[in-house]
């Protein structure tokens, strides 16, 4: 027995401090403690995981605060002082970009261009309304984190603004190459030094998705790395189609904003209240529901291919529906246009994907000797050998469906979606490597074409002064319409939320 001598029957109660009970389990009720995770990660030093491989492939310098040393140096010796106020600009010829890309080296926006763009083109007010959900500033905006990225590669987190004019003037002064949007915190992020670290836990954030063509390099043959063309962009459009319907029909989300990431992918922002208050655990389940292949992220399976029991029959309705979309486009998009298995270095992928040893060997042998059979031929060869060898170890039609799935199903970045502290580039920012504007688009209207997307250079040619006269204006209109709808619902929902809160209190 534990050494406890006292048999004093003095009454004591095991009930602890009075704040212990809380039977609220509904996720839609946000209390300041609800979303606090035991994430002991040092937020200040946090480098978003995809930062190191972001669109430019640059390394970023992370500044904890104005007066501290950078923790990670980029290849340039010049370190830009990230202070927002006294900004000394580095000459643009000393660009830090160490990786040269194979495409779109033609135009890179200069500092003067960016300044002009921020001043005249970028719809600050719309972005403010989108994040604030109301015309008058509220904590959804004022306690929201913004991060600035500079030409030097410096990355400055925890900016926050009390209203739209401060937002705009700060960006104008700081002249970041782009800015990113993070979560809403319990206090204004710029004041974080005044509170203990435990307080700085994200409370709310849009649910976001990130799809990038570099994750398709094993199947693309037209391009690789940062370059894209109309052929491979089809994968992105397919991804959008599949994810869009799942988010709307299955999850019931209404306020989806698809945004071009400026080079080779796109983002999706979901602004429904219900999505914004999801904790990381729920975000993880949502993204795992969608991320059927889990090509990326923590649960990496060997070779990046999902295990077969994902496709256990009967298929889950989401799988079944996605398959319908993919089936129709497989022949065109994959077999004809990409022709991924034509050459020796890749046809092994197809042969080895066959779950029967005999069949794999036979195919390998045949393709080795009979060169230059197209992917279409090879796709049929599998049928032929399956019949000839009288294979019975697996069902050919099921296997074909799985292959279609594995080559074309959306490849998602799980961590970007899961982590609440993760930041994502704002819509209407300009991609520093291409000059493309990250415009929102509506996939239900027409398929997005990144090659004709508004570019800073073309915009300025269209009209140097008035954004209304440029090809950017339709995107701004689309965005404004989206924001209006969001705000309308937000205001009515908020009324009912407040009412029910009051009911509880009386």
């Amino acid at each position: 027995m534990p050494s406890f001598e006292e048999s004093d029957p003095a009454p004591i109660s095991p009930s602890p401090a009075p704040e212990l009970p809380s039977s609220q389990v509904h996720p839609a009720t946000v209390s300041p403690t609800k979303h606090q995770k035991e994430n002991d990660q040092d937020d200040d030093d946090f480098i978003p995981e995809n930062k190191t491989k972001d669109d430019d492939g640059d390394q970023k310098m992370i500044f904890d605060d104005d007066n501290e040393e950078p923790e990670l140096k980029s290849s340039t010796s010049e370190i830009e002082k990230p202070s927002i106020i006294q900004q000394s600009k580095p000459s643009s010829s000393k660009s830090s970009s160490s990786t040269t890309t194979t495409t779109s080296t033609k135009y890179k926006p200069s500092s003067a261009d960016m300044k002009h763009y921020y001043e005249r083109y970028l719809p600050f007010k719309s972005i403010f309304l989108w994040l604030n959900h109301s015309p008058a500033p509220q904590t959804d905006f004022t306690m929201r984190e913004f991060a600035f990225e500079y030409k030097s590669g410096a990355y400055h987190r925890y900016n926050s603004f009390s209203n739209v004019s401060e937002f705009k003037s700060t960006v104008l002064k700081a002249e970041p190459t782009r800015f990113e949007i993070g979560a809403v915190y319990p206090i204004e992020p710029k004041l974080r030094k005044q509170v203990s670290k435990n307080v700085m836990k994200p409370q709310m954030k849009e649910f976001v998705l990130d799809i990038d063509l570099t994750d398709y390099d094993d199947i693309r043959t037209c391009c690789s790395g940062t370059s894209i063309c109309e052929k491979c962009w089809k994968f992105i459009n397919i991804a959008i189609e599949i994810i869009d319907v799942a988010l709307k029909n299955d999850f019931g989300f209404k306020h989806l904003l698809w945004v071009f990431s400026g080079r080779r992918g796109c983002h999706c922002w979901i602004s429904d209240y219900r999505a914004r208050v999801m904790d990381e655990n729920i975000r993880r389940s949502v993204i795992e529901y969608l991320d059927v292949l889990h090509v990326k992220g923590s649960k990496k399976s060997n070779g990046g291919v999902a295990s077969l029991n994902m496709f256990r029959k009967p298929y889950h309705p989401h799988i079944e529906r996605s398959l319908e979309v993919l089936k129709d486009q497989f022949i065109d998009v994959v077999i004809r246009e990409q022709d991924p298995w034509r050459h020796e270095d890749r046809y092994e992928d197809l042969a080895r994907a066959v779950p029967d040893y005999r069949l794999t060997n036979a195919l390998m042998k045949y393709w080795k000797t009979t060169t230059d059979r197209s992917s279409a031929d090879k796709w049929l060869d599998v049928d032929k050998y399956y019949q000839n060898l009288k294979i019975q170890s697996f069902d050919l039609q099921d296997w074909k469906k799985e292959m279609i799935f594995k080559t074309m199903y959306p490849r998602l970045d799980v961590e970007v979606s899961r982590q609440m502290i993760h930041l994502l580039k704002s819509p209407f920012c300009v991609h520093p490597g291409t000059g493309n504007v990250c415009i929102p688009f509506d996939p239900s209207k027409e398929k997005f074409n990144p090659l004709t997307a508004p570019n800073l250079q073309t915009l300025f040619n269209e009209d140097e002064e008035h954004v209304e006269n440029t090809s950017l204006q339709p995107s701004i209109d689309l965005f404004n319409k989206y924001v209006r709808e969001l705000m309308k619902e937000e205001l009515s929902k908020k009324r009912t939320r407040d009412e029910s809160k009051e009911n509880l209190e009386f």
Partner: protein, 530 residues
């Protein structure tokens, strides 16, 4: 919510001298009134206890629950199936945390539920202090919850689920028809498994049977936030933000809901903790609890020190080697090789021998025989005799020392090179351990890998239990087959428990288990039976 509780707490302070009125309320109002606080056998433990308990109740209730939780952990460390765990835990629960069926005429129902309620909250306080403890606590409590949920009758389960206040909405017949194929696709494999489990082996379940089964199932709609697991694994149908959950999935859902709830509550408890330190009487108790400081009360039956009818004496003690756990075998080996043992080893072995029935006189004989092979009788009398007599309470403080349990053994300083005390699963290099296991007849098979694996992971007692099971496999099988006695499969927590269990099984086999043997077998009284 918050305010309400606060008011209650304040109220309680005002009635601090109320303990006597509490007694009368039991007498007058009968236990029905009190039972109204605990309408179900099972609980989510949403409200903290409000009444006062004595310090003694506080401690013993907590320790009883801790024993249950530790046993659950040990079952999972030995990777037992849920069925096996159920078997082991049934006895433990009946003994330490009974929650009897309401129909059973019993005035102790209230007391049982109160103990369950309070002990849960006390352990929350003890276990909320570190991430690791919280994780362990939630895991063990969740298993406990699952065990108990399965013990409920259908009606009790239904009533309990309804009491939970989850936003269930039953899907309408129209919805069921509209989404028939989707629901079928999502439920197919679980329903098939269910049907297969319920029918004779080898029977094929047809798709039609699955359809038929689903026709009579109620489906509930639940916001997807409530079922992150079903969502992530795509094992349920999701439509417009609602997951359709079949009745057959309900229990797993409630269990995960409980686990989630408890985790949140523990996080809140940590933050409420500073206020608690004021009551310094509680702190040492809580500290002891959270250190896992629990001595399994080893009941030596009170027969060891007078030992007249004991079968163990200084001459034959060596013949019981195979009944001893590895730590004791190692010490016995140490004495017979060196004719000496250092202090730590001497203590550990001497108390153990006392526990198996070696009387004070016989013990002295045993040690003298051994030690005088390396030293003179005078030296033994001068330097060691006192020590051994002291162990039996015959000298000095005259305390009747109890045999050490594994925890005590492991809390002592680790053995140095020339020392033999401690726990071999923790202290020995894996090669040395393999040699020792080899001597037990366990060699180069998968079982020894399991043992090494458990020791590597720090699950020493689980390793020891595993070895016990391997060494005594025949006798255990015999006992199970003939149903001739109680086969206790709980984890080894005490060397004497190991010994007694081994003796008990042998006697069952020999058919000599009788009255004498039962009382000899202290453990079968205190731990195995009931």
């Amino acid at each position: 919510m918050f305010r309400k509780v606060k008011r209650k707490t304040d109220g309680r302070r005002n009635f601090d001298d109320r303990d006597t009125s509490f007694d009368t309320s039991v007498g007058a109002g009968g236990f029905h009134d009190d039972l109204a606080q605990y309408p179900h056998r099972l609980s989510f433990y949403k409200l903290p206890p409000m009444e006062e308990v004595t310090l003694e109740e506080f401690e013993t209730w907590a320790i009883d629950r801790l024993k249950v939780l530790l046993e659950i952990e040990s079952c999972s460390a030995r990777s037992m199936t849920f069925k096996e765990t159920e078997q082991v835990m049934e006895k433990m629960l009946a003994k330490y945390l009974p929650l009897n069926v309401p129909s059973k005429e019993s005035s102790s129902l209230y007391q049982e539920r109160k103990k369950d309620h309070y002990s849960h909250f006390i352990l929350r306080l003890a276990f909320c202090r570190s991430e690791e403890l919280r994780r362990r606590f939630v895991k063990a409590e969740t298993t406990l919850f699952k065990l108990r949920y399965n013990m409920l009758s259908m009606t009790e389960q239904r009533n309990f689920v309804n009491s939970l206040d989850l936003p269930w909405v039953a899907a309408t017949e129209e919805e069921k028809t509209k989404f028939e194929s989707q629901l079928y696709a999502c439920s197919y494999s679980s329903v098939r498994a269910l049907l297969r489990a319920g029918s004779a082996s080898g029977v094929k379940i047809t798709d039609d049977q699955v359809r038929q089964y689903l026709k009579h199932q109620t489906f509930y709609k639940l916001p997807f936030e409530y079922v992150p697991d079903l969502l992530a694994m795509r094992t349920a149908f999701l439509h417009q933000g609602y997951v359709y959950v079949g009745q057959f999935q309900q229990s797993s859902l409630i269990i995960s809901e409980y686990s989630k709830f408890l985790k949140e509550q523990l996080d809140l408890t940590v933050r409420g903790l500073p206020g608690l330190d004021e009551d310094d009487r509680l702190v040492p108790v809580l500290n002891n609890l959270s250190k896992g400081y629990i001595s399994a009360e080893y009941n030596d039956g009170g027969n060891s020190s007078n030992g007249e009818d004991s079968e163990v004496n200084s001459e034959n003690v060596n013949t019981f080697l195979s009944d001893m756990p590895l730590c004791m075998q190692r010490l016995m080996e140490g004495v017979s090789v060196n004719h000496h043992l250092k202090y730590g080893g001497r203590q550990q072995l001497a108390f153990f021998l006392k526990g198996i029935g070696l009387s004070a006189d016989e013990a002295l004989k045993f040690w003298r025989n051994q030690f005088t092979k390396s030293m003179s009788a005078e030296r033994f009398n001068k330097d060691y005799k006192y020590n051994f007599r002291h162990n039996y309470g015959l000298e000095g403080g005259r305390i009747n020392y109890k045999p050490w349990d594994c925890k005590t053994i492991m809390n002592k300083p680790n053995p140095t090179k020339s020392e033999y005390h401690g726990c071999p699963y923790r202290d020995l290099h894996r090669d040395e351990l393999l040699v020792m296991l080899g001597k037990l007849g366990l060699e180069g098979n998968r079982s020894t890998d399991d043992v090494l694996d458990l020791s590597n992971r720090g699950e020493y007692q689980a390793a020891c239990t595993k070895v016990f099971e391997l060494v005594n496999r025949d006798n255990i099988d015999y006992a199970l087959k003939t149903k001739s006695g109680n086969v206790d499969q709980s984890s080894i927590v005490h060397p004497n428990q190991y010994f007694d269990r081994s003796r008990y099984l042998k006697k069952l086999r020999e058919g000599t288990v009788g009255k004498g043997a039962e009382s000899q077998s202290g453990e079968s009284q205190s731990i195995a039976t009931q």
